[in-house]
């Protein structure tokens, strides 16, 4: 197990041309689009196998050792032990029950990378298998919504199970929630009916602006989920993948 874990293949990073993202959260009141610079995104999410290799090399990120400030009580709880995956955690399943701090540390230490920004993630996640931006396709939107209707206590699918999207990236939808680097700058109000409230002091960052395309429920749900999190939180359906800017050196 240890050998297999430490000799995992190099992860594949897929190049993504930059472009403009027009989303439910405009970057500023007078600005409709966010520029996304060219970057590379991991083709699949980080697996239990990948993360085991990381904690073997980094004892400070093991369950039981990790500082409570950096991960809550649910951290890697589904693993049989601090260095054992066990029956509940298949090596090829995406790793979940990981905090934002741990996800960031993994990307930096293991892959000389970082977490994708929300804009980068949404830019790539707007694609279907055949279209760069499928967000106006009702059938595609319904397919994404269908995942949210599947109860969360089912075993997670192994990574790479779904067809690659327009960019060649897999499993962005229908598998897990994913951490993004700037999750805590999107804080929309915890009570989403307050969008028109003039009391903006209760909001942070771009979340203070009104959300457009209210019919795009899937995006609203992702934003709601990210807004409910703190950086030390872990949940059963939340994992991550890493990204690199084009100017940023790889390993």
């Amino acid at each position: 197990m240890l050998l297999a874990a430490t000799s995992a293949a190099e992860p594949t990073y897929v190049p993504v041309e930059g472009g403009a993202l027009r989303s439910v959260l405009p970057p500023a009141p007078q600005q409709q689009e966010t520029r996304v610079a060219p970057f590379r995104l991991r083709r699949t999410a980080v697996t239990n196998r990948d993360f085991l290799a990381f904690v073997i090399r980094h004892p400070e990120w093991r369950r039981g050792t990790v500082a409570a400030l950096f991960a809550d009580g649910g951290y890697l709880r589904h693993w049989a032990g601090p260095l054992t995956l066990g029956a509940e955690a298949d090596a090829e399943q995406p790793v979940t029950q990981v905090s934002w701090f741990a996800a960031r540390a993994y990307c930096a230490e293991e892959e000389r990378a970082r977490l994708p920004t929300w804009s980068e993630w949404e830019y790539v996640a707007a694609a279907s298998e055949s279209a760069r931006d499928a967000r106006q396709d009702p059938a595609w939107r319904q397919r994404i919504l269908d995942w949210y209707a599947v109860p969360g206590d089912r075993p997670l699918a192994r990574v790479g199970g779904q067809p690659a999207n327009f960019y060649g990236i897999q499993d962005l939808h229908g598998a897990i929630w994913e951490w993004v680097e700037d999750f805590n700058s999107l804080l929309v109000s915890a009570d989403n009916r307050e969008q028109g409230d003039p009391d903006r002091t209760r909001f942070c960052g771009s979340g203070a602006l009104s959300m457009e395309q209210k019919e795009n429920y899937a995006v609203l749900m992702r934003i709601a989920l990210l807004s409910s999190l703190q950086a030390a939180y872990t949940t059963r359906n939340l994992g991550f993948r890493c990204a690199r800017g084009d100017a940023e050196p790889g390993r």
Binding site: G74, L145, D191, R193, I223, R236
Partner: protein
């Protein structure tokens, strides 16, 4: 917010048997006082238009007079019940600190026979657990989001005074727990619901319930208290289409529900699950409407509400047939039972009741009272195929599941559907009506082509046809809300009755024709 790991033993109280609300020792005085207050209220109602409070002396004072000081005594753990049960009265005469622990669970359940739906729930049920506190109580609220849930959730209680009703203070990630505290300043019956984006979807998936804030004097005792809530549901598939059905966003935006239900399932309050009471008893129903979209024209067929606290407010109206319950609102209705039988509870917007499931039963047992009512107990034409002779339908369903379905069972079950849906036009004799509705009895048109007959039941028929030499030119609506078994049974009945003789039509044949049928525009997605 803290990490939340559920213990098996910490689940909310499961439903128990109906708890008769008997007058308790020591409550006689407050009961008499309550009657006095009620009598005064009634007198005022009679004198003032609409029964709204007008004179300052009759006013409860609202929230400004709802604070009875700090909580007294040891903290109390609230008794939570699953619908249709209601917790017992608090029985307290002083304000207390009440601890409420509510767990959010995303669960897959039957929304209809053989139709699965993933409900998001407060306490594992739709509607969520019933909460009962006393005016002036300080409520320490714990919202737990089960670790296996996918979604963040929160709660807005309409009984809370403060921005958002607790929503912002209770926003909770999966596997975590939030706590907030409020003082219940206004008496009444209040809806609570999830207010996480997208709110309509969280509510549409079943995230609502009721919290009762008892007036300080308590409520007059009655024999039975029950809890029900109407809600509208939006599935990708049609009404009763089998299998797991996801939420349909477009139908929800269009306010075009697939199901309109009491307590979250077609079977929630019928058959063995019917509400029960006895002749001579007084029943109190706490009725809410969770929405997300529709208001309810709440009605009990064959009963008159002796009292309705409309909109859940303090005053009541008497002798009401149908009361309107807003989405996100509630009412308290009470009635005394004189005659035994099955009383059908409906949303009197009737296509919701008979084509989308908004139907429940109150079964009343006891001696007949011919002086009050001598006829049939229920109006069988009204009930259609829902209540009348469901036994044959059940038998056919069980046999089909076991693979032992016979033609005779199909004919019996089909007769029930025929009398409920088809006989209005084609007549129970199968003869139809000359020049208007074609005959089925000894019908050359019906018997000539089984595939065509299946297609007509599924898709309807309009335009000229020739049946037994006579021309007909009218319209039959599609009956595609019937599932494959039901259509197979009703056709088997028609093709083997009134002198017709043929083999049985199978559900597989119906499924094959249905699969070739184009879905009408806007039917789903």
């Amino acid at each position: 917010m803290s990490t939340y790991r559920p213990q098996e033993s910490s689940r909310p109280a499961a439903s128990g048997p109906a708890i008769p609300q008997q007058p308790r020792g020591g409550r006689g005085v407050s009961f008499a006082r309550a009657l006095l207050v009620v009598a005064l209220g009634g007198a005022l109602t009679a004198c003032q238009s609409g029964g709204r409070p007008g004179s300052p002396g009759s006013d409860t004072g609202g929230s400004a007079k709802g604070d009875f000081g700090p909580p007294q005594g040891a903290p109390v753990r609230a008794v939570l019940t699953s619908p249709p049960q209601v917790p017992p009265p608090t029985g307290r005469t002083h304000p207390a600190k009440v601890i409420v622990e509510l767990e959010v669970r995303e669960v897959e359940k039957d929304i209809s026979e053989g139709v699965k739906y993933t409900f998001w729930t407060f306490g594992g049920t739709v509607p969520g657990s019933f909460i009962r506190v006393r005016q002036g109580d300080t409520v320490e609220f714990h919202l737990k989001n089960h670790p296996s849930n996918k979604m963040p959730h929160n709660i807005d209680l309409h009984g809370v005074t403060g921005p958002g009703g607790g929503a912002a203070s209770s926003f909770t990630a999966p596997g975590h727990e939030s706590q907030f505290t409020f003082k219940a300043l206004n008496e009444g019956i209040y809806v609570y619901h999830c207010a996480t984006a997208p709110v309509g979807m969280h509510v549409g998936n079943g995230m609502y319930g009721l919290i009762l804030v008892e007036p300080p004097r308590g409520r007059p005792p009655v024999d039975r208290e029950y809890y029900l809530m109407q809600g509208d549901f939006y599935t990708v598939g049609k009404y009763r289409q089998r299998g797991h059905q996801p939420f349909d966003m477009q139908k929800a935006i269009d306010e075009n529900p697939t199901y309109v239900l009491f307590n979250g399932a077609e079977s929630a309050l019928v058959g063995d699950n019917a509400l029960k009471a006895r002749v001579g008893e007084t029943v109190r129903l706490f009725v809410g409407d969770g929405g997300p979209n529709l208001v309810s024209s709440f009605h009990v067929i064959g009963e008159i509400f002796d009292r309705v606290q409309w909109e859940g407010g303090t005053r009541y109206q008497e002798n009401v047939q149908t009361t309107l319950i807003p989405a996100g609102g509630a009412a308290i209705v009470e009635f005394h039972l004189e005659v035994p039988g099955s009383y059908v509870i409906v949303d009197h917007s009737l296509f919701r009741a008979f084509n989308k499931g908004a139907l429940a039963i109150l079964k009343v047992e006891g001696p007949e009272n011919k002086a009050v009512y001598s006829g049939k107990e229920v109006d069988s034409a009204y009930l259609g195929d829902k209540v009348a002779s469901l036994a044959s339908v059940e038998a056919a369903r069980a046999a089909a599941a076991a693979g032992t379905l016979t033609k005779e069972q199909q004919i019996k079950a089909g007769e029930t559907y025929f009398n409920g849906s088809c006989a209005l036009c084609h007549q129970v004799t199968g003869e139809g009506l000359p020049n208007v509705f074609p005959p089925l009895a000894k019908s050359d048109f019906l018997m000539a082509d089984h595939q065509r007959a299946i297609g007509i039941v599924l898709n309807g028929l309009s335009g000229p046809v020739t049946v037994n030499g006579a021309e007909f030119n009218s319209v039959m609506p599609p009956m595609s809300q019937l599932n494959d078994d039901e259509i197979a049974n009703v056709l088997t009945f028609a093709m083997n009755s009134w002198g017709n003789e043929a083999g049985a039509v199978s559900a597989e044949e119906v499924a094959a024709v249905r699969a070739q049928t184009k879905r009408p525009e806007g039917a789903a997605r």
